[in-house]
């Protein structure tokens, strides 16, 4: 056995080592792609498929309850019509958060690109990312300190105007949107920054030299050219926001009921994973439908 291998090695060794017989292309392609696709399968497709399978079951397949195949979980919006209003409120919450993030994030990115250079710009970029280093829960709880009655904001107001009433907005939808904008703004600043930084200064100088005012430059050059950044930022923000449950629960009080909290309740409180899964997939379908509708419009705009 060993002799055979030695002999084989000798015959091989006699061949010029620099001439190697190439493997068929598909072997190396498969070997190289395997880690990526294997990882994607384990980390994304399998959990999603499991949840998709759960959403067709009559009960959570743990414990002794017999499990049957059913479509009733997808009838939730018909059987429990109050979910429609919750869904609508969640979409509106996503809309306002994305809108405020887009306005503030775009302006901040313009300021970063047009008014700073070198070290200052790097420092400012790090400062924008800094909140990401703290736990989201901490950030949301600190807002409750600021916004509540006799909180930080109230105290400052009463220092200036002692007789003024409370301006507390804690436990309202405004507080929820405020907390969400604070949490998701960096995504928009970064995507807009990346889009804006590629615009050649010469284009803006040319426009200015031909007499364009700043608003013309903004609407004719900056916004159209940064549109890909704005759109990807909006997608990055809108999707997690309509599924968010921590910010509404802590800042929303009584009004903090969203699709996110309903789905979370199904998983943690009601132990009804199938309903939670079906609600998630319904929400996913609605989001995809919204983006499918608007992607055509947006593509038309950018092409024209």
């Amino acid at each position: 056995m060993q002799n055979d291998q030695l002999a084989l090695a000798q015959t091989r060794g006699s061949v010029d080592p620099r001439v190697k017989r190439p493997l068929p292309a598909w072997v190396s392609t498969t070997a190289l792609l395997l880690p990526t696709y294997g990882w994607l399968t384990i980390a994304i497709f399998l959990p999603l498929l499991t949840m998709l399978a759960f959403s067709f079951m009559s009960a959570t397949p743990m414990g002794k309850t017999p499990v049957e195949f059913t479509l009733k979980q997808y009838r939730a919006f018909i059987d429990q019509p109050y979910l429609l209003r919750i869904g609508f409120n969640s979409l509106m919450m996503g809309f306002w958060t994305t809108l405020f993030c887009a306005i503030l994030g775009f302006l901040a990115a313009v300021a970063l690109v047009r008014a700073t250079v070198g070290k200052t710009r790097e420092t400012l970029l790090v400062l924008i990312l800094l909140p990401f280093w703290t736990n989201g829960l901490v950030r949301v709880f600190s807002w409750t300190m600021v916004l509540r009655e006799n909180g930080f904001l109230d105290n400052i107001l009463h220092m200036v105007v002692p007789d003024a009433g409370s301006i507390s907005i804690l436990y309202t939808r405004y507080a929820v949107v405020l907390g969400l904008v604070h949490g998701y703004l960096p995504y928009m600043i970064l995507t807009c920054y990346i889009a804006l930084v590629t615009i050649d200064d010469a284009i803006i100088e040319a426009a200015a030299s031909l007499g364009a005012r700043w608003w013309t430059i903004l609407y004719k050059i900056l916004i159209p050219m940064a549109a890909p950044g704005l759109i990807s930022g909006a997608v990055l923000i809108f999707i997690p926001v309509i599924g968010s449950f921590m910010e509404p629960r802590i800042l929303g009080g009584r009004v903090g009921v969203t699709m996110g909290t309903v789905i979370e309740d199904q998983f943690t409180q009601a132990f009804n994973w199938p309903l939670g899964a079906s609600l998630s997939f319904t929400l996913l379908a609605v989001v995809l439908a919204i983006f499918a509708t608007f992607s055509g419009v947006l593509r038309g705009r950018t092409a024209g």
Partner: protein, 358 residues
Amino acid sequence: MTEFSRRNTLKLMTATLAAGASFSLLPRKVFAAGQITVLNWQGYGTDEAWSLKQFTEKTGISVVHDYYSSESEMLTKLRTNPGAYDLVVLNAARCAQAVAEDLLQPIDFSKVPNAATVDETLRGNPNFSKDGVGFAVPWVWGMTSLAIREGKPKPESYKALADATYKGRVAMDDDAIINVGIGALMTGQDMNDPQDLAAVTEALKSIKPNVKLLWSTEDQWNKSFAANEFDLSVFWSGGSVRSKRNSKLPVEFVVPKEGAVGWVDGLGIPATAPNPEGALAFANWLIDPAFYVEWATKVGAPASSNSAALNSLPADDLSRQVHNPEYLKTMSIMSALPDDRREAFNNVWQEVKAFYAE
């Protein structure tokens, strides 16, 4: 760039395989012989540092904890992590569910000498036993009822929750079973099996103008009460003692005429527990008068199931006053719910919450 020859590709594949193998060969978590893992709410008696120190000195068994933030999360953890826990704190209602799913093992009461003085009605609670075999050591009992800011008039009925004098000053417990129970008591129905869920829904919806927030943890309740955000709340008897004693909050626990929503927590041993002997020793310690008196007087505790322990408390003790035996007469104890009723209760509460949010 190197060409992808057979040898290089093989090297790459071997490296990948080796990496994968070394991951799976990582040492498994080793359980020390004298260690038990307890699954409980955080800050609920079992994890007091002084108690663990005394227990370890006595028995040589060290105690580590894992926590849950809702009872269904506890059941999920038991179902999905077999072999991870030795002792679990679970409500009577959930205990029956866990026993039905074979998640618990029978208790050998001969190894829990303190159980001899445990109240018979609690030990014989049908939720804790199956076919005459006990599956949990009753530990503590308590009530969920109303808590009011000191100086405000004491509510005589749960209907006070909907009273216009408390506009925007009420906090509700974000728990479907408790709220449906309170809605049932408001409408004069059996808390465990209300026949008219529509009336319960209406009663809960009528509270809407008063509801300021829904609380889900005791810590959240304390912070909001201290910030003067509400006056009247659905709250736990033990929680009110802790808030008053530890946080010095001006709170008073009130049981209205409809009676409190009662609960009993037991100590169960998961069927897959690696160290059931250690768990029994810890359960015995947890109903020991020595432990209970220190817990109740220093921290504040619900009423112990062990009458010997409860009687060791000083007569002016806050916990002993709050857990007045008179309340036991009107108290309804939460029992196990069949799946469809539980789902109906959850749907009622989701609907009410959606109505609050409008």
